[in-house]
Symmetry: C2
Subunit: 386 residues, 2 copies
């Protein structure tokens, strides 16, 4: 079966908070886990040692972006993505399915393959389920994602049904291709992706198909793309009870503080999102009571850490007044210090949740978080692509 058996430490309900460990050849990942996003082989503004200092145990990188630039051949000759970017902890790579939907141009999808042109320079590419696995193996990914077919909504019922069918057929081909590569040598594990939009019936069917497949984990895709938080929660309530208890569940592209708590409450183990780094590049910083804009004049003379309770490098070293000055002066250093803070904030949420699950106090901890943290409306989460 899989070569990355998930170890469930606490939590035997399929849809409640769980504590686990995901082993990989680059080390173990404790779950619930948040994965910072290194779209182009870098978590924007940060060096790998700085990402590690936030406590991140795994990061995500993007098959689509890396196949366009620098190309898998360059990464292979570098000795893989870990060596290329100097990150020695686990890497999960997505398959490119989301970027085919969100970023690529002139995309044509048949059962056999997706053909598309690079959004950078129009170079034509062909991506098949087999190729998506080969690329991820070429990067040296620890956790590979199956290629899925997303369609924008609204679409005709027949088109949605076709993409749905194709996603699960492609999962089968990814499994076969991964098995073939595994016979030749070490290769990362493979996660399947549950799709189905906001249709409870399709979601349930997809959860069943992915849950029964020979995969190391089950991702939940196609959420966090503009729907409300209530709609996302409703889909999780449909999906996670149907997934196998003994495999990790990964909610793709999700990563606001409140979404992490709600996801874990419903049995999700892994998350990724560009939100912390993208927000930081736009002066939005997390605090225990909610997001703030560091450019606001109230910080001009605040000669104390932005968050006195924060243990991140930024808060332990610099004042809010200095951060304010850097952002006002459009200094690149500000973007980096803000990114460190925001990533650490999300990682610390997962640490708090893991401790609470271990103690059996998750519900209290979640209530405490909700009473304190003012989430930003019911707005659409930030999309995954960069």
């Amino acid at each position: 079966m899989t070569d990355s058996p998930f170890e469930l430490v606490v939590g035997n309900s399929p849809s409640g908070p769980r504590l686990g460990v995901l082993p990989t050849t680059h080390g173990a990942v404790r779950t619930p886990a948040f994965m910072p996003v290194g779209t182009q082989a870098t978590v924007k503004t940060l060096e790998p040692f700085e990402v590690a200092q936030t406590g991140a145990e795994i990061l995500l990188s993007n098959t689509y972006h890396l196949m366009l630039r620098p190309g898998v051949e360059v990464i292979e000759r570098a000795g893989g993505l870990h060596a290329f970017m100097r990150w020695d902890r686990p890497i999960l790579t997505d398959s490119g399915g989301f970027q085919l939907y969100s970023l690529a141009s002139q995309v044509k999808v048949t059962d056999e393959a997706a053909t598309f042109k690079s959004h950078l320079d129009g170079t034509p590419f062909v991506l098949t389920p087999e190729r998506a696995v080969q690329l991820q193996a070429g990067y040296g990914s620890d956790v590979m994602m199956a290629l899925d077919h997303l369609v924008g909504l609204p679409s005709s019922a027949s088109r949605v049904a076709e993409a749905f069918r194709r996603t699960h057929e492609w999962l089968g081909r990814c499994i076969v291709e991964r098995r073939r590569l595994a016979e030749q040598g070490s290769v990362g594990s493979l996660f399947g992706i549950v799709q189905g939009g906001l249709d409870p019936g399709l979601r349930a069917e997809s959860a069943g198909l992915v849950g029964e497949a020979d995969v190391a984990g089950c991702a939940i895709g196609g959420l966090s793309v503009g729907e409300s938080k209530a709609e996302m929660a409703a889909m999780l309530d449909v999906v996670t009870p149907l997934l196998p208890v003994d495999k990790p569940r990964y909610l793709m592209g999700v990563g606001s503080p409140e979404d992490l708590w709600e996801g874990v409450a419903r049995g999700v183990d892994m998350f990724d999102c560009v939100l912390p780094t993208r927000l930081a590049r736009n002066a939005g910083l997390f605090t225990p009571t909610g997001r703030v804009n560091i450019r606001r004049m109230e910080y001009r003379d605040r000669h104390a850490p932005l968050d006195e309770t924060c243990d991140c490098h930024t808060c332990r070293t610099y004042t809010a007044a200095y951060l304010h000055h850097l952002y006002r002066s459009r200094e690149i250093l500000g973007l980096k210090l803000g990114s460190i803070h925001n990533v650490r904030f999300l990682i610390r949420q997962t640490e708090t949740m893991r401790a609470a699950i271990a103690d059996g106090t998750f519900d209290d901890a979640r209530a405490e978080f909700r009473s304190r943290y003012r989430a930003v409306g019911d707005e659409a989460p930030v999309e995954e692509s960069c």
Copy 2:
């Protein structure tokens, strides 16, 4: 007299290479020294610990920029510039004279004061020699610069003469003001600035006046503003022989590798320039044989350090292929890694020069550098302002 006596270790000629130590309350600076520029209380893209890792023992910051934003009051309430930006080594601040010439709008200069408007938002300011010293004392500067009056060339002879006279009168007022502040408490030392454009007579007269003044060091200003390297060298040949041997000489705004060697050969002890960080933000990186553009395709597959002989963090950690990828992908991390490399390259030039001076082999080392390093034409050096 001065409270920062310069210690000359090697070199008793006024116009040959010298080895020295400049003590300050934040530690000693070994000369020849290169000062990275932290215009807005940050060396662009770098944290202070990263600047320190390059071996920099002192950095420069800008009175003009800091008075506009965040304002001296904010920095004073932060506990001074060192505390504000978390740099615990010496800081030299320029006086604002150069930015009045290059950046401010609606500048009017009388013997009493310069009035101008912020280039950021039009806020009106008044700067006197006394105020320039007060501001620098407010920042907690270790080495303060006297306010000078620069005029663009060509200007009428009477206008040049007036600015020249005014610069030396203002020096006198800065000395008096610094003395007054020193009686009240600890205050940094003061350097005067030799002006005179490309006129050997004026330069010689200015060198005499500044050299006789009660200053801790003698800066050479108004060079590296568009003249040729030969013209700059000719002015140094006029000025340094006339300066006191026992005070440090600081060539303002100069900092290409070749200019450092030529300056030290002529008796200069200190340099500053935005060149290494500005070049790095534009993909220009120093190598032992000259500058290169890291975006060039020849680096795409170079899975080795950009410079095998370089001991900087960037070259010890990342490959040229990875840097190339970051620059091609317009990733902020590239700008930072390039800045580390370039600053370290210049700092290493000073380390090499200091060792050679100590060994009595400076001429050989300079010949070796010149035979190896291909300088970029006879082009104008980068200007100081940002």
